[in-house]
């Protein structure tokens, strides 16, 4: 399951807060910037998209899925919000009281998201604080105990991987070995929560001001990085790789599924934020135009961020490729005592053949060590999950000049995006609490926010243990994915079949003055539900075929990731995560049904 979530939450900052229950607290000026955050979601996903491209052909399925899935669902959510003029729970309540669970499920998903998402900010803080050293701590390996060579684990892996897995996470070999809490990470996590608390302390009024900074700064950094990235040696290779479609990968259904999931999360569908955004619009606002513009800006930001990512990726791959070639040259020069400087990348191949024929015995001895260096394979190396942001970028940054500056810029940008996302998540949890009279009458706003931050921070300390990264991956992969798919599926079916597509169409015509044309209607009624059901079936069959869910564990002795099976209690936690948000929908429907029966029974008996 590779649905990227780092982009999702970025799209839902203020919407969730306002979206859940109340409307009026959101200052109008912050609203377009909240949209901006939605558009910045792709910045983080550019990292994920690098992985997409790495698995083959990205632009074509991405654009097709955007047109077929992204735009229509975005239009749907905006239209619902504009029509119902309420946040997500209220809007679904209006459509049908049985569907109130949809809004509640969104809030539950936000709660899970806020629990684990701040750990990313903690890591970003850790790297940011370490970026002020010269040389950067991840640029070289530490020495072993007798100072004769480098640390063994670091030699087998690379120095950036060592810094991530050993110095930052101090990761244990498997999820069963819990280890203790890493105090450095715990401190950074506490700091991250304090920063979030500082921003949400005063409620959405202060959040609005913070969004100005957190939304605009990443764009500036991205532009700076674009200029730097394109001037790097080897960036062209990365860009060429990004833009050349791989025809054989297009035939692979996995590519299309990844693109569909990608679009899904990049637009932030299913969080209720879009409904909330749209509820502020004038009823006569042309939300169709809005939807198209937003998704186009979203995808162009996506492509812009991908250009930056791929140019840096190309630089890293070219650097590693040239290193590899130099290592082979050194090996051959030393073994055959050739003149220093005789072997160049140009004559390497023919010299290898000559040596193989002239000195077959010695050549066969060193043959296993001669790696076939290829730029393609360097570009193809995929890194999983959050590792991409921290390992690949730091590896590229350490080879740039003035690497401290680039490192600080990059992690500041990552922090801005992360904190922006966290603001929305916590606002989503806080608004129902501050609105309910029982709690808000007893405790002031600041105390409620403080309590929420404290509880989430305490739970988040689990992710700072030695096995914490494995639990983080569980939350990252399973907390939001299936639930959001289900929420959007229910939304589409609710609008088309429960509320009535004709009725919805008429509402839109009354509101905006133009009817949605046949393209939208067909996609809402048939294509999107089928697509989402298809995604569901795919994930389920994937799970059934594999038999059990697996994860990547870091093996310190080999210096690389190995695949292991989840133990039973981890599977139970996964099941609980998925069930607790998806079950909201049927349970609330059932509850409403029973309440109505009971009420009817009461009125009849009276």
């Amino acid at each position: 399951m590779q649905a990227p979530r780092e982009g999702t939450a970025a799209c839902s900052p203020l919407g969730q807060g306002a979206g859940a229950w109340k409307e009026k607290e959101l200052p109008r000026a912050a609203f377009p910037l909240a949209y901006l955050h939605c558009l910045l979601a792709p910045v983080k996903e550019a990292n994920e998209q690098a992985k997409l491209q790495v698995e083959g052909g990205f632009l074509i399925p991405y654009i097709i899925m955007l047109v077929v899935e992204g735009m229509p669902l975005l239009y749907l959510e905006l239209a619902v919000g504009q029509r119902m003029r309420q946040g997500s729970i209220g809007a679904w309540n209006t459509i049908s009281p049985y569907l109130r669970g949809v809004g509640i499920a969104s809030v539950v998903v936000s709660f899970f998201l806020s629990m684990y998402y701040n750990v990313i900010n903690a890591w970003a803080f850790w790297y940011l604080f370490h970026s002020f050293q010269d040389p950067l701590p991840w640029s070289s390996c530490p020495l072993n105990s007798n100072l004769t060579s480098y640390d063994e684990e670091c030699e087998k892996a690379s120095s950036t991987q060592y810094f991530w897995y050993r110095k930052t996470l101090n990761i244990s070999p498997s999820i069963e070995e819990n280890g203790g809490i890493q105090w450095e990470q715990a401190l950074c996590l506490i700091l991250a929560w304090l920063v979030v608390y500082l921003c949400i302390l005063r409620g959405t009024e202060s959040t609005g001001k913070v969004v100005y900074v957190t939304a605009s700064l990443p764009y500036c950094v991205l532009i700076i990085y674009l200029v730097r990235g394109l001037t790097l040696h080897g960036a062209i290779n990365g860009l060429a790789y990004m833009f050349t479609p791989k025809i054989e990968q297009l035939a692979n259904p996995q590519t299309w599924i990844n693109a569909a999931t990608q679009i899904f999360f990049s637009l932030g569908l299913g969080f209720g934020s879009l409904i909330a955004f749209a509820s502020y619009n004038e009823p006569s606002n042309n939300c169709q135009k809005h939807a198209i513009i937003v998704s186009l800006i979203n995808s162009s930001t996506s492509i812009f961020a991908s250009i930056v990512t791929f140019s840096i990726y190309g630089f890293k791959a070219t650097f590693n490729y040239e290193n590899c070639i130099n290592k082979v040259i050194l090996l051959l020069t030393n073994t055959f005592d050739l003149e220093d400087g005789f072997l160049t990348p140009g004559n390497l191949e023919e010299t290898k053949d000559y040596l193989a024929s002239a000195y077959p015995t010695e050549y066969s001895k060193i043959f296993p060590d001669i790696k076939n260096c290829s730029l393609e394979s360097e570009l193809d190396t995929a890194v999983q999950g959050t590792g991409l942001s921290f390992i690949v970028y730091t590896e590229a940054i350490k080879n740039m000049e003035v690497s401290q500056l680039w490192s600080v810029l990059y992690f500041v940008m990552l922090l801005m995006l992360g904190i922006g996302s966290m603001l929305g998540n916590t606002a989503a949890i806080l608004t129902p609490l501050t609105d309910s009279n029982t709690i808000s009458s007893r405790l002031p706003k600041e105390a409620i926010s403080g309590l929420v931050c404290l509880i989430s921070c305490a739970i988040g300390l689990v992710f700072t243990m030695e096995a914490g990264n494995y639990w983080f991956d569980i939350f990252n992969d399973y907390a939001a994915t299936l639930s959001l798919l289900l929420i959007v599926l229910v939304e589409t079916i609710a609008i088309c079949y429960v509320y009535g597509l004709k009725r919805f169409e008429n509402d839109l015509q009354v509101m905006t003055g133009c009817k949605p044309n046949w393209y939208w209607k067909i996609i809402w009624a048939f294509v999107s539900p089928l697509l989402i059901i298809g995604l569901f079936i795919f994930y389920l069959t994937d799970y059934i075929l594999k038999g059990t869910l697996q994860y990547q564990a870091w093996d310190a002795t080999q210096g690389q990731l190995v695949t292991r099976d989840y133990p039973n209690y981890a599977l139970a936690v996964i099941g609980l995560l998925v069930a607790s948000s998806t079950m909201c929908i049927p349970l609330v429907a059932l509850g409403t049904f029973i309440m109505n029966r009971w009420k009817k029974g009461k009125t009849v008996s009276v």
């Binding site: 049908s96 304090l194 005592d337 109505n596």
Partner: protein, 253 residues
Amino acid sequence: MSSLRTKGKEMRDIYLNEIILKGFYSDRMLVALLPALSLVTVIHAQLCQPGAKDAFKVRLSLKTALGDKAYTWNENEEYLFKAMVAFSIRTFSSREKIEISNVLLCNVTKRVSFWFVVTDPSENQTVPAGEVQGAIRMNRNRINNAFILNDQTLEFLEIPATLGPPTEPSTPIWVIIFSVVFCLVIVGIVLLIVSGIRQRRRKSKASTEMTDVEDKCETMVTIENGIPCDTLDSKEGRTNRAFAAGDEKLTPL
């Protein structure tokens, strides 16, 4: 005429004999000296061989290190090398009698690489490998500098270089920056909470003053067409019962 010829022949014969005899004598000298000379070279050749006891291989990468400014490896450079090794052994190993001629070099390739071994004339054998290794390790920096090379470009195979650990300040830098940011955030939070409390106190004071004014206002009710309008409760919002969802029948598609 024939007598002349015979005389010439005789002269030639004598001449040839002289040469042969001379050669015979010089050969003899050579043959006498040969064992002595060959003994020395053979001993040297035996001591300094690839893989010999107490011998080390050295590898230089001049072009990689110096590029265009690379010097050519010739006998003078070899002399310098022998001098550095002899110096190291004299200083760090307590053998005071080692001379430059005791350091033997052989098998110089174009790489540039060669083997060397150190002999001790007083004991008439090679200096043990451990001593040579220790002496060179201690003096590695000066040897490197003499050739304007570094640990990677002047390699002594089987003599690992002592790598310099990165300098660590007494307080890690990240702790300093972390503390600064932490304090700033705490100060910010405290300021906001305190100002929030103050604002609330001011509001509650103002509202107690306002309640007297409001008591009079409450009696003012908007009247339209003789029907009093309900005052809007701005906090709660207003549900329009005309749109009550309730038991509404679900519409078909």
